[in-house]
């Protein structure tokens, strides 16, 4: 069984190798043909020709956090639904009723978020 997962490991390894090779080619040619000629203006942060002012790690909207937290709730919900969906033919109507209750509780939460305006973005 576990033997089936060996190709996945090999694929991850080969993918890493290939990506490193492509990036290495870029740096390699840069060194080999003297393409790399860095100077201060070229390496400064791109800001449409202006001198970059203040740090770019600025304050950002709290809604991004809110979206991330909501995501965790719903993604866990999906993680619970997958094993249920696979074994649906074995657990039958009782299983569907159980998940119905589970989904109902989450839908109540979803409606609450909606009414509270957590999903608004303007």
């Amino acid at each position: 069984m576990l033997q089936n997962y060996l190709p996945i490991l090999i694929f991850l390894g080969v993918a890493t190798g290939l990506s490193l090779l492509l990036l290495g080619l870029g740096f390699g040619f840069g060194a080999l043909f003297g393409i790399r000629k860095p100077y201060a203006e070229k390496q400064s942060t791109y800001e449409c020709g202006f001198e970059p002012f203040e740090d770019s790690r600025i304050k950002f909207d709290v809604r991004y956090y809110l979206v991330a937290i909501l995501f965790i709730v719903f993604d866990l919900e999906i993680a619970f639904l997958f094993p249920w969906a696979v074994s649906l033919s074995k657990i039958g109507a009782v299983g569907i009723a159980a998940v119905g209750i589970f989904l109902l509780i989450l839908v109540v939460g979803f409606i609450y978020e909606w009414k509270k305006g957590a999903l608004e973005w303007d």
Partner: protein, 366 residues
């Protein structure tokens, strides 16, 4: 697990390899061949994009560079010329950036895009890693891709890149939920997480393909896929008219090329997954029709490639047709339209299964 073909065995005999190493060596060779094929396919996809959108906008597109001076197919060598150009460009490392993360980000984007193909069923009986948790593996790896985008935006230390990365994270995360719910519907209908078994659950004619009974999920999955790959009309992540190029604004040369490769390979991946989950993967729509030529009625790689090409054309078509969504509209579509719709359809599917109506009757054994 793919077996070592007889053709290659004498080479391994000559090298006197032990059995386990033969399997590993053959898998490495398969991986390299598969990645090269996908990358060449992706290269021509970039050409196809420029030609197709060119035609849709009544212009020509790239038509200068010929392959080995062949008189036909002008512009066919354009992707290769682009690759060579990118290789000889300087990779700029901005002074304010975090150098290690700056280099790591393109790798983190490209590696999952390539490695996902390990579990893909290409034709009957051929899957490199025929694992039972194939769908979970794909979900896990495709969501890893967003780390590369966030790291790129953070490490560049540029305001445009940072804003692009924040948008990318929230957008990908929102559409991943809709995508996950759509897949729950597919897994319910197929009863397996193994991609090969999801295809075989759809065998027996076009009426068994999941896109008929799961039509809302099919549409939602494909649109979420477009949003996940940050393609138009959901490309506010790059939004060239406001944040220049978004998260990869400070990248150049091959570091940029890796992001580019990953984006297009992810497009091919979404097309392949949509075909497998909803259009029966390598299954032929004309199975059992005697009067047609054999190539049309047999299942095989050609049908999967045809379906992938169809969805890729849709990607390009949408880009040429739709204006870009506003960011609040994107979030509203993801949270307030797609998630309720998928929840409703999963409930409908479960109720139909309990009532033993339609193809879902077989889900209830007792």
């Amino acid at each position: 697990m793919n077996a070592v073909p007889d053709l290659i065995q004498p080479v391994f005999d000559f090298l006197n390899l032990p059995d386990w190493l033969r399997l590993v060596a053959w898998t490495v060779m398969t991986a390299v061949m598969m990645f090269l094929t996908i990358i060449i396919f992706m290269a021509f996809l970039t050409l196809a994009e420029r030609r197709v959108i060119g035609s849709m906008q009544a212009r020509i597109g790239p038509n200068r560079i010929r392959l080995f001076g062949l008189p036909y197919f002008r512009g066919l060598a354009q992707p290769f010329a682009d690759v060579i150009k990118l290789m000889f460009k300087e990779i700029i490392l901005p002074t304010g950036s975090n150098k290690f993360l700056f280099i790591l980000a393109p790798l983190l984007t490209a590696i999952p895009a390539l490695a996902t193909w390990a579990v893909m069923p290409f034709w009957p009986g051929f899957t490199v890693a025929n694992v039972d948790a194939g769908l979970l593996y794909i979900l896990a790896l495709t969501s890893t891709g967003v780390y590369g985008v966030i790291l790129a935006g953070w490490a560049s230390n540029s305001k445009y890149a940072f804003l692009g990365a924040m948008r990318a994270a929230a957008q990908v995360v929102a559409y991943e939920i809709a995508m996950g719910f759509a897949l729950v519907g597919v897994v319910m209908a197929a009863g397996s997480l193994n991609l090969g078994q999801i295809i075989s659950a759809q065998s027996g004619g076009i009426s068994n393909w999941f896109f008929i009974w799961l039509f809302p999920l099919f549409i939602i999955y494909f649109i979420s896929g477009i949003a996940e790959t940050n393609r138009a009309p959901f490309d506010v992540v790059e939004g060239e008219s406001e944040i220049v190029a978004g998260f990869h604004v400070d990248y150049s040369g091959m570091a940029f090329a890796l992001f580019f490769v990953a984006e297009y390979i992810n497009m091919i991946l979404i097309s392949a997954l949509t075909s497998i989950f909803f259009l029966g993967g390598w299954l032929s729509p004309f199975a059992g029709v005697e009067s047609l030529p054999a190539i049309l009625t047999t299942s095989g790689l050609h049908w999967l490639v045809f379906k992938i090409c169809f969805f890729l054309f849709c990607f390009l078509w949408f880009r040429a047709t739709f204006p870009r969504y506003r960011y609040d509209q994107i979030m509203r579509l993801g949270w307030k339209v797609f998630i309720p719709l998928t929840l409703v359809w999963i409930t409908v599917e479960a109720v139909l299964a309990v009532m033993k109506i339609g193809p879902f009757a077989r889900l209830m054994a007792n």
